[in-house]
Amino acid sequence: MAIDMTFPEFQIERDRDKCIDCQVCARQCSNQAHFYDEEEGIVVSDDSKCVNCLRCVTLCPTKALTIKKHDMEFKLNANWNETAIKEIYKQAATGGMLLTGMGNDRNYPIFWDHILLNASQVTNPSIDPLREPIELKTFLGSKPERVLIENGRLAEPLPPQLELEIPVMFSAMSFGSISLNACKTLAMTASAIGTMYNTGEGGLHKDLYKYGKNTIVQVASGRFGVHPEYLNAGAAIEIKMGQGAKPGIGGHLPGEKVGAEVSSTRMIPLGTDAISPAPHHDIYSIEDLKQLIYALKEATEYRKPVSVKIAAVHNIAAICSGIARAGADIIAIDGYRGGTGSAPTRIRDNVGIPIELALAAVDSRLREEGIRNRVSLVCGGSIRNSADIIKAVALGADAVYVASAALIAMGCHMCQKCYTGKCNWGIATQDPNLVKRLNPEIGTRRLKNLLNAWSHEMKEMLGGMGINAIESLRGNRLMLRGIGLMDNELRVLGIKAAGE
């Protein structure tokens, strides 16, 4: 038998004075890290199975459990650290690619945390959001070169727009990678708040058609669940060219996660792997993309905006210029910190560029080329809080996409084991025993709370800058200053250094 050279990543500490052996932890752990020893009459734990999802800790009625990074240590080594060594052990044992979930967790710089906001003081008074209305409403879609007015009315109709109450939408998460209850939560929240959620490449489940006017339906390379009713069900259509977490490769949903509902929604056979190819096999050039964009517009009678989602990679500015000229109404850029249900670790952690830099570069280029009005820019790939949103808008975004933050509101604890399908919080799983743990009523309540809280905070920050409408902040680089950034970074971001 081969030796297992790894040791557990986490250790489970059970305070025996507090533990009442109620077995709630044993019943709830889908990884079977806790189990009840009938003979001894106590609950015991197996550290090697723990993934640090904290389900047991949260539910324990006496708070007897603590999960910690395992005490065991390799000899200290700044180069060959624990992660580097264990990854090799794992691959030597299995011969497989390392898989992971959620977004890049490596120690790269977070540019949001190097950007500071302005506040008005002397010459331009700040606005108190409790006394004056501050407009967060945002319209996404192509804007015309100029607005022609005749007799006090628009002479030409505007291209189709999405109306958002706040500049925050839920980014693509497929039904299959997440549970139906999680999808319902996103749909119900988007509907209640007045924003959009995105189907991802899993198609649209029949129970969710009623939230159609708050849905962006995605057309990805596998074309799962794409049929005429689907295209017309949503408020907009998004062509997925790439995703921040795994630029250049396609999606992969293992057959175990393809149950009856996923199978019928994606229109694939039960239990088969759902593999989305890397490219759309009918898009090999920018002209092919333009063809698909217009084919979708024809299919929906030009009533819905068409968005193109791409991963932030090198030369992103040139790519977006091409997409804008190809007829897209919205471009969604996904940075390298973006989350996923499953991706090869090396791709997730080494491919792509930060969204902050990509966004700034694209916004600047489109303005330089005089075509910024043709598209709305949406950015995602780790928007963690309302300050990130404000900074993103100031860098040029019309709106942001959040996904990981939404899942965290629903209960995600970032254990990054989404690809196992054993999510203890009922989010990234299709196991009915686990899916039922996410009550959409509770999830919606929490997610609405998050967005409402962020709205209040955004209004405070805007008011502090003396701005009473989000559109006045869009691309307003003068409201930002950099801190601890190098000259080239400041230049790409198009902002001055703090103090200047």
Binding site: I20, Q23, L59, P61, K436
Partner: protein
């Protein structure tokens, strides 16, 4: 013709089986709420032997589970079947309770209850035990309050 007069409120606890996670925290809190150490869960579980029985029954056949307890019926079969008169329905609150001093553990109520929610407390005094709607806890059922997924709720049938 004479009219039947009734002013009894019918509160019931019901379950949403689609959200029960099968964790059984409802059982833990039921035991706690009925123990003498109502505010100390560790003492309630470690100092009392034999451990009191929970009065909620969690049925489970994966992937479905749900908790069920006394429905405090309008026309309670257990009250009619009780040979000692220990089971009674309070005319004010509508709650059906078992007088543990008078119950002699004949189990006839267990045979009458159509929900099968009366349990045999053999060790703890050989009496029939069932949900009392947390009547000593301000009628704020501990199971409903502590369900982490809001799978239990109170219905007021008035």
């Amino acid at each position: 013709m004479a009219e039947l007069k009734t002013t009894i409120k019918h509160k019931k606890i019901m379950a949403k089986e689609e959200f029960c996670a099968g964790c059984r925290l409802c059982e833990v809190h039921c035991v706690l709420a009925h123990s003498k150490y109502r505010n100390d869960i560790v003492k309630a579980f470690k100092k009392i032997y034999p451990r009191p029985l929970p009065r909620i029954i969690v049925e489970e056949q994966k992937p479905i589970s749900f908790g069920i307890q006394c429905r405090h019926c309008e026309d309670p079969a257990c009250v009619k079947a009780c040979i000692t008169g220990a089971m009674s329905k309070d005319p004010e609150t509508g709650i059906v309770t078992n007088d543990e001093n008078r119950c002699i553990g004949c189990w006839t109520c267990m045979m009458s209850c159509p929900y099968g929610v009366i349990v045999q407390d053999v060790k703890g005094g050989h009496i029939a035990s069932k949900c009392d709607f947390c009547i000593d806890n301000g009628m704020d059922p501990a199971c409903v309050k502590n369900c982490p997924n809001e799978a239990l709720f109170v219905v007021d049938q008035e």
